[in-house]
């Protein structure tokens, strides 16, 4: 097991280097806005652009730039400085991480709890009115993009532009340390919007998995033993949840992608909006930093999910 974890972590690091290289190529080699031009003001003199490029290190050859970046990241934990605000990328991310964590954790809880419980209830009464309604709604939520859902939510419930003015609207986020109640209410809409798609996918997965499991022989055995129906269902859920754990990790990536859009629409000062703004401003260093952070989360989540799988299913052994 230990050997397995070490091997997975080493692979994870290799993967991060590859992600680094890909973002590097994506934003510097392929034609995007030249950050030096963007920063030089209107009608800039060519020598000014040259000067800015020199300051930002953009005049060096691409392999040198890449090598310098990797050295900074892996040797000094230095992710560079924003072209735009001159602040260190680490500081920028650190400042914004609490908001993103608030958003992601809350959405994650809603996602798992709502997804699994709706799936379980649907599976136990397949083709009932509840099941059809829930699965129909799930299909809509899977198909709807987050930014659209976010706008609809604002138009329905926000205090400023909503039809039912019950929840704080865009830009109302405050850190939990400042005002816990406002923190909570301002995040209700973003949480649900961000969780909606993933929860819907999980409800459908859980439903399918549990319906199959409830047909298994060991469920018949559980009933034949005289266990209460509640315990029988618990045994079914225990077995049905296993294949879904692996998908949990995959879905975290989708959730982080959604966070960029949700933070942007709800104007939450998180890492997602930082990334969005960085893309708008061709702020390469910040893009690199946020992409690396997100990749790291996804890689860690996958390792954790695989390890959790071994604990959940005694038949799985890693070597």
């Amino acid at each position: 097991m230990t050997a397995y974890v070490i091997r997975r972590v080493l692979w994870g690091i290799a993967l991060l280097v590859i992600v680094c290289a890909l973002t590097f190529i994506l934003f510097r080699v392929l034609p995007t806005g030249n950050p030096a031009v963007l920063r030089a003001g209107r009608d800039p003199q060519p020598h000014l652009i040259k000067e800015i490029e020199r300051v930002l290190g953009l005049d060096k050859s691409l392999p040198t730039q890449f090598w310098d970046y990797l050295k900074g990241v892996f040797l000094h934990f230095n992710f560079g400085y924003s072209y735009y605000s001159q602040q260190s990328v680490i500081t920028l991310i650190k400042e914004r991480l609490p908001a993103t964590i608030s958003l992601a954790v809350g959405a994650g809880i809603i996602w798992v709890v709502a997804g699994l419980s709706v799936g379980i209830v649907s599976a136990l009464k397949p083709r009932s009115l509840w099941d059809r309604t829930a699965m129909g709604t799930a299909l809509v939520l899977i198909s709807a993009p987050e930014f659209w859902l976010a706008l609809i939510a604002l138009l329905l419930f926000s205090e400023d532009i909503g039809k039912f003015k019950i929840l704080p609207g865009a830009g109302s986020y405050v850190p939990i340390s400042q005002d816990p109640w406002q923190w909570f209410t301002s995040l209700i809409m973003p949480w649900f919007v961000l969780a909606a798609g993933s929860a819907a996918i999980f409800a459908r997965l859980m439903r399918g998995s549990l319906i199959e499991t409830m047909k298994e022989d060991y469920i018949r055995t559980a009933r034949a033993k005289g266990l209460s129906e509640r315990r029988v269902v618990r045994q079914g859920v225990r077995a049905a949840i296993n294949p879904i754990v692996t998908l949990l990790a995959l879905e975290i990536g989708v959730l982080l992608g959604g966070a960029v859009l949700v933070e942007t629409v709800f104007n939450i000062p998180g890492v997602g909006r930082l990334a969005y703004n960085a893309i708008v401003h061709s702020d390469f260093e910040v893009i690199q930093g946020t992409v690396l952070l997100a990749s790291m989360f996804i890689i860690i989540a996958n390792i954790v999910a695989d390890i959790a799988y071994a604990y959940l299913d005694p038949r799985v052994r890693y070597a």
Binding site: T221, K225, G226, R231, Q235, R238, L312, P314
Partner: protein, 375 residues
């Protein structure tokens, strides 16, 4: 619908009151293609400490009738009628809650494939303990000790260590032993074993049957053994019921079924088992055709399309289970004359083929699809 048969009830034998008495039990499943008549008016009884073998092909209703005894088919939406008297209580009339207190407690069941019948993610010990705790308030420590004791009782080596192992860490035979241990956890009065040896190696089969016999003599429980394998019932059963298309077509003591079988289907079953002591030139005679659909069953005698001895009017008349003259406790549902049946069986025992036997007794040969098949 079939012609309703009178519920001919075999008289109680010497052992007195029956533990389980099934009367005119019918189980029907509504389906998209029509009503499935899985069990169609069967009557049998099991005496305390005795073994009843229910024999038949797959789809003959033998498993469904047993699951119904446990109240498990109605959970799947089956229509159940008739009576299942267990110690005088009618199980068909009990509520789901009352039925649950009997399942796994007074009546326990073991299944064909022990690997799929055990939960893969719980240790064997945990599955044993929850069986006890579902019916009795036993402290966990005590339950675990009892689990170890039970595993030892069914012959699992090193039960102290094995109790924490998972089903996939057991061998096939050990899994079935663990299933039996689980069934015995609450000392049931009746154990239903549904094809308990079918999924096992031949050598292990004999061990499991010997184990069940030993436990029966030690614990005094009654057993219903469901199988398609006459070899299994020959070894274990006191009485045998032969099922075909949801009905019992012949029932008698095991000795009577093996020495004087009365139903052509039973003959077919007996003649299709290879025997070591038989003359090697003796051919196996398979039963032609396949079991009928339980939605659209053949008219008249349900067996007539596959019966070598069927006469023209057998496709119209539905036979009832009736006593065999001169053999008390032996019942058969066959339209042939008792005298004719006896002659045919005598011919068959001498190695005659069905066609030869027909010619010998002067019956009309209407056998459909009965082609020469060498074994």
């Amino acid at each position: 619908m079939s012609a309703a048969e009178p519920a001919t009830l075999p008289e109680p034998g010497a052992s007195g009151e029956a533990l389980l008495r099934v009367e005119d039990l019918r189980v029907e499943f509504p389906s998209e293609d029509g009503v499935v008549h899985a069990v169609d008016g069967i009557t049998y009884q099991v005496f305390p400490g005795k073994t009843l073998g229910i024999v038949g092909e797959s789809g003959s209703g033998k498993t469904v009738s047993s699951l119904t005894t446990l109240g498990l088919t109605r959970l799947q939406g089956a229509n159940v009628s008739g009576r299942i008297l267990f110690e005088g209580r009618d199980l068909v009339a009990l509520s789901d809650g009352e039925m649950r207190t009997i399942r796994g407690n007074d009546i326990a069941m073991i299944f064909q494939d022990p690997l799929s019948a055990l939960h893969p993610l719980y240790s064997v010990g945990k599955q044993l303990i929850e069986t006890m705790q579902a019916h009795h308030s036993v402290p966990k420590k005590q339950a675990k000790e009892r689990a170890i004791e039970l595993l030892g009782l069914v012959g699992i080596p090193d039960p102290k260590r094995r109790v924490d192992a998972f089903p996939h860490e057991y061998s096939g035979g050990m899994r079935q032993r663990a299933m039996i241990a689980m069934a015995l956890a609450n000392e049931p009065k009746l154990l239903i074993a549904d094809e308990p040896t079918t999924a096992l190696d031949v050598t292990v089969q004999a061990q499991i049957l010997a184990l069940m016999e030993r436990l029966q003599s030690e614990l005094g429980m009654a057993i219903i053994i469901i199988t398609h394998d006459l070899g299994v019932v020959a070894e274990m059963a006191d009485d045998i019921a032969v099922m075909y298309a949801g009905r019992i077509v012949e029932t008698a003591s095991a000795d009577a079924v093996f020495s004087n079988p009365e139903h052509p289907y039973t003959w077919g079953l007996l003649k299709s088992i290879p025997r070591l002591e038989a003359d090697r030139s003796e051919l196996l005679v398979p039963i032609p055709g396949t079991p009928p659909s339980l939605i659209n069953r053949p008219s008249g005698c349900h067996f007539h399309p596959r019966c070598a001895y069927a006469q023209p009017d057998h496709s119209r008349i539905d036979p009832a289970l009736e006593p065999v003259p001169g053999d008390p406790g032996h019942y058969v549902a066959c339209l042939l004359e008792a005298e004719v049946r006896r002659k045919i069986w005598a011919e068959l025992q001498e190695g005659a083929r069905p066609q030869e036997a027909i010619a010998e007794v002067g019956l009309e040969d209407t056998a459909p699809g009965l082609e020469e098949t060498s074994g």
